[in-house]
Each structure stands twice: as C-alpha cells, then as structure tokens.
Subunit: 270 residues, 2 copies
C-alpha cells in the first residue's frame, strides 16, 4: 500500500493574499483539501481565506470536517475520530490531503491534534508542514506597533488561561500578546489601568481581514462583546532601539532628500 | 509634492516560496527595492530569499544599504543616516520603495528602525506593512514540534539579552523560544541539563532554507560555533491537547480507513 502525502497548510491571518506561494501551490496540487469548520451551518474561516487562491478543479475533493467550539472531550473526541477516519481513508487510497488552518499550523491550531495523531496513526505518512503568517505578527502590522526589537522579550498568553499572574508577566516582559481575549476583557482592561499601561495597549480583531478592527483606547471595548479572534498587544517599548533618543539627528536629515544628493548605494536591475 | 509609498515587506524565514502572494506582488510593482546587507561584500540574506520572486525589470532600482552587524551607535547611526537619506530622496521623487526584511517586518527586524523614523521624518508617507512568516513559526515546522496549543504560553527571548533568569522563564512558560542563541549556547545547554529539559529542546538554524539544520540532541552543539540565525525551542508539552492520553482511542480508529467506509462530510468541488 502506498500512502498519500499529508500536509498541514497555514493560510495566514485573514487576507487571501497573505497565503504563501508554497501554500497556494500545495492547495492547487492536492487531491483533497480537508477543511475544519465549527458545524455544518458555518462557513469555515480558513476556507474563506484559502478559497480565492484555489482554482476550480473537478478532480479535487473539498472535505469538510466539523469540530465543535468546545473543550468538552466527550464532544471533541468523536469529532476527531470521524475526522481521522475520513482523512486516514483517503491517505490509504494514496490520495494527498491538505488540512488547512488559519494562521500557522504549529501555532494554536486545530492541525496540531492531527499532527500528533498522524505520527501515531500513520507513521509511514510523511507529514509536511507549510508555515503561514500567524496573527501574532499580523496584529502588530495592523496595530502599527512593532512586536519586538533588539533585546525585547515577548510573552504570548491565551487569555482564556486566566489572567491571575498577568501582572507578573506585564512586569517581566516588554511585549505581551493576549490571545482570545474576549472572555476576560474587563479584567484585562482593569489591570492595564492599574498598571498604568492603558496607552501601551492596542486591541485588534480579525487582523488583516476585511473586517479588521483596531481600537487604541481599550477602555472603549471594556464592556463590548468581543469576537473570538481578538487580541490585545501591550508593547511597553521601554527598551526601544537605537533611534529612540535620536529625534535631533532625524531632523537634521531632512536636508538630504530635499537637496537631491544621492547618498545610497543604488544600482539598477540588470 | 507627492510622496511615494513606503512598504516594509517580510520575505519570510528563508525559502523563496514562503513569501506571501502580496509580498511578491508588491516587490514586482514598486519602483525601488531597498535591500539591507551587512556590508558591500556580503550578499543580503533577505535579497537571496526575495530575488527568485522578482521579475527582471530595467525600470526597477535595487538600492543596497549597508548596516554593519554591531550595536555600536556611533557606527549604526551614520549607516542609518545614509539609508534614511537615500530612501527619503526617492520617496520625495514620488517613487514607491519596498524595504525587504527577513521574516516579518515587525518582529526583531531592521525595518522597525525605519518604521519608527518614517513616522517622524515623513509623516505624510503612508507606510504599509506586509507581514511575513517569522522564524518563530518556521522553526517549529522544521523541528516538527508544535509551538503552542490550547492553554500553552510562549516566551520569546533574544538570548543575547543574557540567560540570568532563564530558569524562571523555563518554569513559568510551556514553550520557550531562544533566538540568536549562538553566543550563550553553552550556558543554555548547561541549564537545560540541570532542569531536566534536554529532551524537550531542539536546535534549529536557518529554518526553511536550503541550509536548514535541526539538532535534537542539543548537547551535540554545546561546543559548536553556531550561526547567527539559530534558535533553541524548548517545548515542555506538559499541558498538551485532548489527544495526549488517547493512545487507545487512536488505535481503535485503524479499522476505519482499512474498512473503506466514508466517515467524512466530503463534497467535490463545484
């Protein structure tokens, strides 16, 4: 028996043109695209991102798999059993299967369960991982706040974990990324206020998608019902890079591009 | 005067086909690609990644800019002055400029200096950031170790910062990404040994590039001269996801794909 190739494909944070060139190629090459969705009536977010990149191909199967939004093992277990069975059957037929996932397949993704299981279930199947742009970097791009620079340290916390020791983390790190912040937004905003960090925080939901929303005064969303794919980034920037105290030297530069003298080492394409 | 558009373009971790579709489009559309390199005699790593995606275009300028590998402000300052002057001059001529950077422009990148300065120097210039795949997710893909799952917390530390409190961070977090680990590799391996975490650590250099190197027994590289773009990922995985204790339920699944019964919700492309 010759097994098919299994791929975990990151489709990036939300915009269809933030897929990688490799992801687009794989999605157009495989026999089966496996598409996770919360239930039969919801559109898959990962598929909404990927679909504009996939050319019509009657030979290709789009395999929708339901994973209820729950942590209840008695619900998730059977859902995964069904998914493993469906994917395994196709791999066993020698078909290539690409499991798509928002962001990156190895960062807080549904694919991780499949990856762990694949190594046990189908040890002969070579699993290939196609990394994607994670929301951890799409959020700074949307917020226009660098994630980290030079010596800065970053902590990434799923806020659903609780925020008990958030005060400590806020002290120990330069940039703190609070993922899936919706359920604890009130506590987080309160704590940021206490710590004098309100002006260092930015709230971003659905970064890079057409529904992207960026809120710089996080007190505004304190009582909001936030969406699941929402983050708060706290960037203290107390240890910024070489330019932080160089306002003067920046000003004196203005003469250059007004003088028209070429200071670069440019050369034209040849 | 009508200013040109300035872009920060992430070219991903190393493989040319891990650029995003958007990055490829921007790099082919702009008047000028600004390319950082350590000196005039070294090839730019970012350009080596991007170049295969850029079509020959005699109208496009490739502007090489030198940024010496140093933290010495008296050396870096003038280098940046020169770069700002060269870029500013072109923007002032109404030319679009894309500054390329390995990984993501907002994550430990040269572009961050330019971004901070641009807001001050050219407040009228709308800076667009094209996020990229960071090595923080390319490394897990190479190491085949998920970065984080479920409730797991991630700490990202530039190891050049020192490893004084690494023991504490190793206790507080589930996954620890030590970037630019070369200068402290001996200390780090020693500490991992003391903490009994050697088998949870993987060393990766130049992830996703043709020179990728993955070492699972980090004691091997204890006395090595490591390259600059090297990381150690420590993934404790003590709080893994729903499948961790499900070896039995996985085994019973084998019957499915051997029976040929379709358990999926597949439908063909239409």
């Amino acid at each position: 028996m010759s097994w098919g190739q299994l791929y975990g494909v990151g489709v990036g944070p939300g915009a269809p043109d933030l897929l990688t060139v490799r992801a687009v190629r794989v999605l157009n090459d495989v026999d089966v695209i496996a598409i996770p969705r919360p239930n039969k009536w919801s559109k898959s977010l990962a598929w909404r991102i990927a679909e504009p990149n996939v050319e019509k191909n009657d030979e290709q199967e789009h395999l929708f798999l339901e994973f209820p939004m729950t942590k209840d093992k008695s619900v998730l277990g059977p859902a995964w059993d069904k998914a493993f069975a469906a994917i395994g059957q196709r791999l066993a037929q020698g078909k290539s299967v690409a499991f798509i996932t928002q962001g990156d397949p190895m960062v807080y993704s549904t694919f991780i369960y499949l990856f762990s299981a694949a190594n046990k279930l189908w040890p002969e199947v070579p699993v290939k991982i196609i990394p994607g742009v994670t929301s951890i970097s799409a959020v700074p791009a949307a917020a226009r706040v660098p994630l980290a620079d030079g010596m800065e340290r970053v902590a990434v916390l799923p806020a659903t974990y609780g925020v008990d020791d958030l005060r400590q983390v806020l002290n120990d790190f330069d940039t703190i990324v609070l993922m899936k912040v919706s359920s604890v937004i009130q506590d987080v905003v309160g704590l940021l206020e206490e710590e004098g960090l309100l002006d260092k925080a930015v709230y971003v939901e659905k970064a890079s998608s057409s529904e992207e929303r960026v809120i710089r005064d996080v007190r505004q969303i304190r009582h909001d019902k936030c969406v699941y794919f929402s983050m708060i980034v706290v960037a203290k920037k107390e240890r910024a890079g070489i330019l932080s105290d160089d306002a003067e030297s920046l000003q004196k530069l203005e003469k250059y591009w007004q003088s028209g003298v070429d200071e670069g080492e440019g050369n034209h394409a040849h």
